[in-house]
Symmetry: C2
């Protein structure tokens, strides 16, 4: 069984990340979306175990103590974390896992799991980001201002990612995203670990492994 890819995608709010992630999941059904746990209260319609695992602050603290989270972060006073056991199990079963997390979390993942593939999606400009956030019409002025501030902090970590995609035209950005996922699967470092599953020819295997 070829080990799955751990794909981490981050982007400032309003960049179009959720749309791109949904397109990617439809296009690659073998990708599993990791469900985070959070101390935030469920919003109307949110389902425990589907949108998030809703847990108490106490339970969250325990998970941190026991090193059961691949990464975690505090956002607007709530805590969010990625359960390590579920992610590693899926990867070992050959499934790719997608994490949609913030920059703090992404860099924690890279530290704990260096094979992770980090992809940062950029808006074409801060002006365009602001325009997109306002055109949603769902957030008040203060929330928009906060999001723009956080966007600025996140942008300053973009170059620590493995890939940077600019979401100017959605379809083009999607093609790039898909290509990255496909290409990463065929990196020598990765293929090498799975020669014996991929190649059914003993002499060729021997030559490759010399």
């Amino acid at each position: 069984m070829m080990k799955g890819l751990l794909i981490v995608i981050s982007a400032p709010s309003g960049t179009g990340k959720t749309t791109l992630v949904n397109m990617l999941m439809r296009s690659f059904p073998q990708i599993e979306f990791s469900i985070s746990c959070t101390t935030r209260k469920p919003r109307p319609g949110e389902v425990d175990g589907k949108d998030y695992y809703f847990i108490s602050l106490e339970e969250f603290e325990k998970k941190i103590e026991k090193n059961e989270l691949l990464e975690w972060a505090e956002v607007y006073g709530n805590f969010y974390g990625t359960p390590k056991d579920k992610v590693l199990k899926a990867l070992n079963e050959g499934k790719d896992v997608l994490l949609d997390i913030d920059t703090q979390g992404a860099l924690q993942v890279k530290k704990n799991y260096p094979e992770a593939v980090l992809i940062f999606i950029l808006p074409p400009s801060l002006k365009e980001l602001e325009r997109r956030l306002r055109s949603r019409g769902t957030e008040d002025e203060e929330t928009i201002e906060k999001r723009l501030l956080i966007a600025r902090r996140e942008l300053s970590l973009a170059t620590r990612y493995d890939y940077i995609i600019i979401n100017d035209r959605l379809q083009e950005a999607f093609e790039k995203l898909k290509s990255i996922v496909t290409a990463e699967r065929w990196k020598t470092q990765r293929v090498k670990e799975h020669f014996s599953e991929l190649i059914n020819d003993r002499e060729m295997l021997q030559l490759l492994n010399t």
Copy 2:
């Protein structure tokens, strides 16, 4: 102008490399195929400056002395080399350059130009390779034996490449090849060098460069 990618593709004779390279060139018209120089005599129909630059052994030696070749190799008593000036000029003009060369040459290129992307195409098995070589019906027994020997030596260098693709099903191998070329363009290392051309927003540029 975003600098072009230097793409190096190698594969044992009979793997289907030429077909894949032709498909790739049709699919990405911005890729330039590098024309090698050779001391081999032109075959009927071969055109100087199109198939190869046909030069004398003396001229070839001079090119090596003057360090004018990005890589060179001896194959069946003839010399083949890649003119450095033409390749670097095209890359600086933002064109991608594709080199279809042997493993010795590919590793020389990686040494001289570490940003080069090296892709090795594997046959599904040595048996299948032999079958494909024989089914061509164009080569005598001795040539086939020689090619199979050389294939074995080349396979033992495959893991030095950046990517390994198995050409089991042509269309799948082609999709992988295309994805690698697209993904490589959006590696942070590369995008970083071209932020100012890609992003038209001074504040965002500043944040990215901190």
